[in-house]
Amino acid sequence: MAQITMIEAITMAHAWELEHDPSVVLLGEDIGINGGVFRATAGLQQRFGSERVQDTPLAEGMIAGMCVGMAAQGLKPVAEIQFMGFIYPAIDQIVNHMSRMRNRTRGRMSCPVVIRTPHGGGIRSPEHHSESVEALFAHIPGIRVVCPSTPARAYGLLLAAIRDPDPVLFLEPVRIYRYAKQEVANDGKALPLDVCFLLREGTDVTIVTWGAMTVETLKAATQLAAEGISAEVIDLATISPIDSEAILESVARTGRLVIVHEAARNCGVGAEIAAIVAEQGLYDLQAPIQRVTGYDTVMPYFKLEHDYLPSVARIVDAVHATFVD
């Protein structure tokens, strides 16, 4: 078993599913011979042909709308939106059709679609290339939002997303596409959706995060451990629906909650997690909840992006704050 990066794991999952399910069709801008701007589909068109792995004209609303039509007629489209900042033209189709086709037709038609898109910043990209607007989609009923944090989870969760009978928005954290390699068995085994993953056990504070921010969070946890603070780190993985049981259970044990995400704070997914605990776990809280998030500003162009992204220092300080108040 080779050590592979997240992007390679994603390619591998695609290949597995293309091979085992003839109804799977990949589509997107530059995903064919070019293999995608991040190489997520490298070699797949060569291997599976230009109908199963399709380059599309340049139109995201079209991609999403095509997915609705293809899925309603029995295919399982897996679409790539080149960057999350370009998903906006697709929102109409995602909200008004894809995520509610099952509901609108009382189950007669459905949309087993996966929309994959790079998520977040930190790699010196041009304007509009560093968005992390998962909250917009988490608010939409009828679509799941998933974000892996390691190669293995990318492989297993992408398989799960493709096999799921409903639409899934699959967010790929660009900062860690090639961050660390991991052994990933190409066994076609999916990981479960709708549950989070425990990345590190702890007893003093629960830190919930997802995607690329797991890196800074785990670093913070290590740093905290050195000071004698035992942090439990939870990777949300499925951002919507949230596995609130697991979070509440952890907070019940630790008594403290810090939420870390890259997106803007206002009405971010962190707010929902805080709200769930303030409703159902209030009496477990020994200190105010802390959110460490992007600011309520436009993600700055890259010279300042590391001033925007939550840092290890901010996470550590937020945990400290839960011990002060």
């Binding site: 109908e51 599309t56 004209p57 709308g65 899925a71 037709t105 009382r106």
Partner: protein, 359 residues
């Protein structure tokens, strides 16, 4: 300057407003059965339509968009489609749907505010009503892509209104369909109005068929009040699609004789004279005249047909009125196939308050 590309848009008419043939007619126009079947469906659609507007007035339906004046286009398209083709409606096209097997009670259920109206007992592969203007054009293109990938000799048909041709989604759909030679037909119903906005305000184009040129595909204009021309034109376009020769844009010229919907009052923005003139060229008169001249359709036939249609509509209305409401559970049961815990919890909560309204 060198001309590097040239285009022409043609106009097809077979019956003039008085029912006189003005072109060679296709075979089906010589068949009594086919003519009666088409005319019957037009009369049924109009009978249903009148009834539905009345049901709205008495609070039994919500907002309802009439199909008055569009019957030749809608039924002509229905007749041109094969059962295995896939059809993406907007919100008025009952004439097409009924031909394909959708039941009238389903239309009433839908406009009565109940999602079950989209669960057609008829063609399971037809798309539900689509209120977000022009969005359905992409669904038809997607369906066509599925047919193409699976090598099925089927064609998709999407409707879109004159107003709908201003939405980017429409152009994205026709451009993609052209680029990938998809088996799909885009039927632009130019009824001259998008609510209160007349076609002249919508675009500087002389025809909507010429929008096809922007996709590099054929576009043709047809008299949308002439069911023979509509059916024939669409049969050809659909056949092209099924043969793998690519998409077509068909513009059907017709007129919205009604208000936009029951929530609209068209007298606020359009002239009585225009509507009066449009009544002179509406589709039923000329079909009936043609049938009288060619297959001896009589007043008695007409009366019988009208009675039958009225009875059928009435039966549908009764079935609709007797339908029990969905339970509050139904809000939750179709959001996902695999219901998340959160929804199960909320479903129980909703049950507790169900029927208590918002007060």
């Amino acid at each position: 300057m060198k001309a590097v590309a040239e285009f022409k848009i043609h106009y097809v008419q077979m019956l003039d407003p008085s029912g006189q043939p003005v072109a060679d007619l296709p075979a089906f126009a010589h068949s009594r059965d086919e003519l009666v079947k088409m005319y019957r469906m037009m009369v049924l659609a109009r009978t249903f339509d009148t009834k539905a507007v009345n049901l709205q007035r008495t609070g039994k339906l919500g907002t309802y968009p009439s199909c008055l004046g569009h019957e030749a286009t809608h039924v002509g398209a229905g007749a041109a489609l094969r059962p295995e083709d896939s059809f993406a409606p907007v919100y008025r096209e009952i004439g097409t749907q009924y031909w394909r097997g959708v039941r009238m009670v389903e239309t009433l259920t839908y406009w009565g505010g109940d999602e079950r109206g989209n669960d057609f007992s008829g063609p399971k592969h037809d798309f539900p009503w689509s209120v977000p203007i022009a969005s359905q054009t992409l669904h038809a293109a997607g369906a066509a892509m599925a047919f193409k990938i699976r090598r099925e000799p089927r064609c998709a048909l999407a409707y879109v209104g004159d107003g709908g041709t201003s939405e980017g989604a429409f152009y994205e759909a026709i451009n993609l369909a052209g680029a990938r030679k998809l088996p799909v037909v885009f039927l632009v119903v130019n009824n001259r109005w998008a609510i209160s906005v007349p076609i002249e305000q919508q675009t500087a184009c002389a025809t909507l068929a010429q929008k096809a040129i922007a996709a590099g595909i054929p576009g043709v204009q047809v008299d949308g009040n002439d069911i023979i021309a509509v059916r024939d034109t669409l049969e050809q376009a659909l056949a092209r699609g099924r043969r793998g020769e690519g998409p077509t844009v068909v513009e059907a010229l017709t007129y919205r004789l009604s208000d936009h919907t029951t929530a609209d009052d068209a007298t606020r923005y359009r002239q009585e004279a225009e509507v009066k003139a449009a009544w002179k060229i509406e589709p039923l008169i000329r079909t009936r005249a043609f049938m009288a001249a060619t297959i001896g359709w009589t007043d008695a036939d007409e009366q019988l047909l009208k009675t039958e249609c009225a009875q059928q509509v009435e039966a549908a209305v009764q079935e609709f009125l007797a339908m029990p409401k969905q339970s509050s559970d139904s809000m939750f049961d179709y959001v996902f196939a695999n219901q998340p815990v959160r929804l199960t919890v909320q479903k129980a909560l909703a049950r507790r308050y169900s029927g208590k309204g918002s007060h």
